[in-house]
Symmetry: C2
Subunit: 198 residues, 2 copies
């Protein structure tokens, strides 16, 4: 079940560094791409940073609409993540998009006009904070998170569920290279080492 994530906890959806999918829409066109380079940038109001290359079709939609979503895929979606990461919306006919081409279902953002990918385990709806220098020079986009959602099987009460019995197909993923990912692994608790002195 999808449930709202309180905004001051939204950074936790990205804190452990999962690979994300960036989606956007404008004027009847929409697209989705993969991004290994994203991170949380602030707690409240929550902000994120993500790299969106100039060559991508998604970038034009983000710039035109001023909105994007970060979708956090799970292991069951690794093939779809590679598929949308390895193809461009530019190469599709005008009446098609990657959602249709790859048989991906979406649902509408709650606040922004962004397509959210069904089957992901978390979603962040982001409004672009206009930073032309960063966008042009570094392909770096900064967004304010205006709504966040998570699948309650994996994230509830503001925290990732770290139960070892969690279905491995629902674990988040971390791209390595060449079609290979790491799954998010075992959770463990740590006690900070006490200072040796003073």
């Amino acid at each position: 079940m999808r449930r709202v994530v309180e905004l001051p906890r939204a950074y936790r959806l990205l804190n452990h560094g999962p690979t994300v999918l960036v989606s956007a829409a404008h004027a009847g066109r929409r697209n989705i791409m993969a991004a290994s380079w994203s991170m949380a940038l602030d707690f409240a109001p929550p902000k994120v940073a993500v790299v969106i290359d100039k060559s991508t079709y998604t970038r034009g939609l983000v710039e035109a609409s001023g909105s994007f979503a970060l979708n956090v895929p799970c292991r069951a979606q690794a093939a779809a993540t590679l598929a949308v990461g390895g193809s461009s919306g530019r190469d599709l006919p005008a009446d098609e998009d990657k959602f249709a081409a790859f048989g991906l279902q979406s649902f509408a953002g709650s606040v922004l006009d962004v397509p959210l990918l069904e089957g992901c385990v978390a979603w962040l709806e982001c409004r672009v904070l206009d930073e032309p220098h960063n966008q042009q020079r570094y392909d770096l986009f900064i967004g304010e998170v205006v709504a966040a959602w998570a699948d309650t099987r994996v994230f509830a009460d503001g925290r990732w569920i770290t139960d070892p019995a969690l279905d491995p197909a629902l674990r988040t993923i971390h791209y390595v290279a060449g079609g290979q990912f790491f799954a998010t692994g075992e959770a463990f608790d740590t006690q900070a080492a006490p200072p040796l002195r003073g």
Copy 2:
């Protein structure tokens, strides 16, 4: 054994989103802090982005020296990661630093005057690309990676070693909250789903 990572492969050290330690030195003072919010920003020359809060002692050293290092800790260092993340170099006497306080060994950067933490599995020496607006408004620092290193037990020939037999203590870590981390988990290969149409 530590070996140089070719610069065009340096982004791979961060691509899967591990928690890092940011270290810096200036005028005889040095410090190290934990950061969940970092990412690769470019391939070649490689760049990184990292959030360094204004309240941190590390920040002053980064601003004064124009340099920082990202150290990638492994599970064996989770307690040290929490320790340096939960304390400030500001609170230590002038003749002490966190390395001494927590019994941490360091070695010198090869290009920059940055202290690198022994026992980590990868290191990136970074020169700050001066972006005062980002630094002031978002606590966001952009660095060019001028040297990178990895422990050949976990990263060799430009890739993370994904052998399931890898010592769990050498796996990288991903901070969750409240003293809890995820270990980097199982690696898996994926075939992109073929397009359903066209």
